[in-house]
Symmetry: C2
Subunit: 175 residues, 2 copies
């Protein structure tokens, strides 16, 4: 009994230490992205539209780029670099023809969202993410972060290809 109590105490202590050590970096946190520890922001689906886009090729998706209040304000006012607290959520769905709409229009012209693919989240925090231009990243599938560290390491490499004047962001505001 004494041994069991001792073990339980040690196990609890180990759990606490592990959580304290690893949660801030997101490594022991199932809800946060690897490398950056970015979480899917609550209520992001209610955010305002920054823009929309279609990516053809292997992605073959149609997407809405949404922003929290700080992001939308910065976009509308042209503030660059984006202020800390900016969060951009790119929501994407498979790009599929709408047979229903095409039948109504009498021709094949309509492409709409199919199943959701993933949500990519960019968080501006110039101190926490100083090594990646002030941006932390996450990719979420079915609400869960993609666990690949290798994938996360491609985020900033790709975003460095965006026009520098836009602070490592591809999307422009669509008025």
């Amino acid at each position: 009994m004494k041994w069991t109590t001792h073990c339980a105490a040690v196990a609890t202590a180990m759990f606490v230490v592990t959580s304290l050590c690893l949660s801030p970096a997101g490594r022991a946190d199932d809800a946060a992205s690897p490398v950056f520890g970015v979480r899917l922001p609550e209520g992001y689906r209610d955010w305002r539209v920054i823009s929309v886009a279609h990516e053809a090729g292997s992605l073959n998706d149609i997407r809405a780029i949404l922003g929290n209040d700080i992001a939308v304000k910065a976009y509308r006012e042209g503030t660059r670099p984006f202020p800390d607290g900016t969060i951009i959520a790119r929501v994407a769905w498979k790009y599929v023809p709408s047979d229903e709409n095409n039948a109504a229009f009498g021709q094949a012209q309509s492409f709409v969202p199919g199943p959701a693919t993933n949500v990519q989240v960019s968080v501006k925090d110039s101190k926490s993410y100083a090594d990646t231009g002030g941006w932390g990243y996450g990719q979420f599938e079915g609400g869960k972060p993609n666990p690949s560290e290798a994938l996360m390491k491609t985020c900033f490499d790709c975003h460095t290809r965006a026009n520098k004047a836009y602070d490592f962001v591809f999307t422009h505001y669509a008025p």
Copy 2:
């Protein structure tokens, strides 16, 4: 002087009568659509996203379909017919390739919004618009209603081609 005063009174009365007679139908109202008297809703660009789409062919646009709170609630809960007060705003932009994104990706794959084309607004009011399935319509270019009565008369004809179960609406909710 007496005549002038009389004339002014008559002119004022005529203005009031004209306004009273014509404003509700929108015909004497520069801010409202012909036939339906629908106005561009204040703050519509801040509304939540119902879905996105690409229409090819002669439209050649990329679009966001936004909804007021009543619309989004009805969409998320599957309420049909849509309740009175529902407003859906379809915002469209020219569909253009993004040379900037394509250069970053190393291939032609990215299509984004160009200049705004128009905003189409559907308003549910089962009493006012009983003859058109409960829907009133407007099309706005540069913030102003398209003044064509003929154009407005095509709205409901087209929307009758939508699946009846969706209450004369083409767009489905993209989760």
